[in-house]
Symmetry: C2
Subunit: 347 residues, 2 copies
């Protein structure tokens, strides 16, 4: 038994919601269809963005893309517009780039209110300004009523690579420290509570935010960070399993060290969800040498988006690439890939 996906049925199979959920089925689809046919080193690396050499220049540029299909379009703490900016800015930052430019591609459903579209566009403009990026090119398509769901937005980001930084998760070594930048599951549970019409004493809000400033501060403090990733679809569990596979090692985390808001824990219990699999849009997971961990934590905690940063565990030698958790009661359990479609259209 190893931590790797099964074969896709390319003859008779059909697309399932799980193929977009950030878990094992998505990894299958990406590897056995896209990586296989597009066949190049950048896709094969399976990072959040590609770091590309400019002919004749010393700089590298970083490129990342994200389609946004979140439902509902407006939610506490954000909307599809701010999310579309944050998601791609974060992917460029996680791949070691300073995000500078975004493209925006809109697929609009006939009949969608222009007032809602303007609200989304204003939200994108504000999010871009806060993140320090410019939306330089775009495209708009309209499909007939019933052929999409209001608005889908693709954003693609380009930035210049921070010199000397290498964030390939293959860098991860046994003993490395695993750090999360703050509370987990806030985005996913804000969306779910909106969908399910749940109300709690403290309102659940998405954590959607641009992390490029936090990453800048982290790389200034510890240029040798081994890997960064934002735990979106599939949550922390997906990131730890991706890291484990890429590095060929195991991961061990302590449940008690994982920051969770009480209202997120409560909502997860009510809906039967595990917060480790729930999407975040303003958090990151960093892996660094154990000696660098205190400095990295200090730099993170000094930034508003890293105040609750926590060292949650470490990498370890394990050929099976398993991810394990030491529970609050002292037991151990496997953190496997998400295997179903837990939360469709969360981003």
């Amino acid at each position: 038994m190893t931590n790797s996906p099964r074969r896709l049925d390319l003859r008779n199979g059909r697309v399932e919601l799980s193929h977009g959920a950030g878990g094992r089925a998505m990894a299958q689809l990406i590897e056995q269809l896209f990586v296989r046919h597009f066949d190049n080193q950048w896709l094969a690396a399976q990072t959040d963005g590609a770091s590309l050499p400019l002919p004749g220049a010393a700089e590298r540029i970083v490129m990342a893309t994200d389609c946004h299909v979140v439902s509902p379009l407006f939610f506490p703490g954000g909307d599809i517009g701010s999310l579309a900016v944050h998601g791609t800015v974060n992917d460029v930052a996680m791949a070691g780039g300073r995000p500078q430019w975004l493209s925006a591609g809109f697929i609009l459903e006939e009949g969608f209110p222009l007032a809602d579209l303007e609200r989304i566009v204003v939200s994108m403009a504000t999010a871009a300004q806060v993140a320090g990026v410019v939306i330089v090119t775009g495209d708009t398509k309209v499909v007939e009523r019933g052929k999409c769901d209001g608005v889908f937005i693709n954003t693609t980001g380009v930035g210049v690579a921070v010199p000397g930084v290498n964030l390939d998760p293959a860098n991860i070594r046994p003993g490395d420290a695993i750090i999360v930048s703050g509370t987990l599951g806030d985005h996913g549970m804000a969306i779910m509570s909106q969908r399910e019409n749940l109300s709690f004493e403290t309102a659940l809000r998405s954590d959607s935010a641009a992390l490029n400033g936090l990453v800048e501060a982290m790389l200034a403090a510890v240029p040798g960070v081994h890997a960064l990733r934002d735990p979106t679809r599939g949550g922390l569990a997906a990131v730890l399993n991706e890291f484990a596979r890429a590095a060929g090692c195991g991961m061990s985390v302590r449940e008690a060290a994982i920051p969770l808001r009480p209202e997120v824990t409560a909502a997860c219990e009510l809906l039967g969800l595990d917060p480790l699999y729930v999407a975040n849009e303003g958090k990151l997971v960093a892996v660094c040498a154990p000696a660098d961990a205190p400095r990295l934590l200090d730099a993170m905690r000094a930034h508003p988006l890293g105040r609750d940063a926590s060292l949650i565990g470490h990498a370890l030698a394990d050929e099976r690439c398993f991810v394990e958790m030491e529970t609050a009661f002292g037991g151990r359990r496997m953190i496997d890939w998400l295997s179903g479609e837990q939360l469709p259209r969360i981003c």
Copy 2:
């Protein structure tokens, strides 16, 4: 009366198919919503792609994006996969860039056959290889059955700007020559004949192709080309009106000089369409100084994708920015922006 769009009803209006059709309504939406709120020089230029200065480097990079929602997904001469590569490669080339890297963002409908998806992915991979670009990063989202229409694909392209080239249509001067690279309307009529189940003695095929090689040859022959654009949605009529507005001049073309396949003319007559408004995916419109026109035409005709290049008219002084055509019978008619949704989901 001037050649400029009316006001959008942002309070009570709704998205209409015409907002995506490449005509006047689309120009309205882009200017009054996207350009206004995103507010920057690149979007304001309303070119097919943005030419961006890299900090600390002499090079500029060019970035362009396109969402593809074509229906049907497979058509004579191509499919949504090859189209997604060609569309974006061409936009980068029209903005003066040598396309190098593409991102690919997929929105998939639950239940879509994996075999069809693989066919599309293989077609993208082949088109990318022929065009000399690499698909370096991607994203996959899945939406519930009935929430999209099979597959939508966003591609975003990045390339390095060809040094010394400036393709801003504001460069266009009265007297400039207007050249098209070949027959018009082939893509749109191939899609329409598939939709309407028309059959002709000669099958209609899309002209979908990557034009970066042709553009390379053109810029080598005439580096001072004033403007380039591929007449996709809205056809030649849209490009001429966009150029006229950007340059603040008029345009005059001769019907007899516009290359059209007889089967396209026949299909247009049957369906009541005007070929000047029909989409192309492997053609371009170039504007250059009159003295450069013979050299540019020679370079184009020497390339397989420019064999049928034709000088169709010229720019002229006209504050109203009108586009006129001298008909085959010696009369004159206005070529206005497309005002309805003539051909939804053509690309």
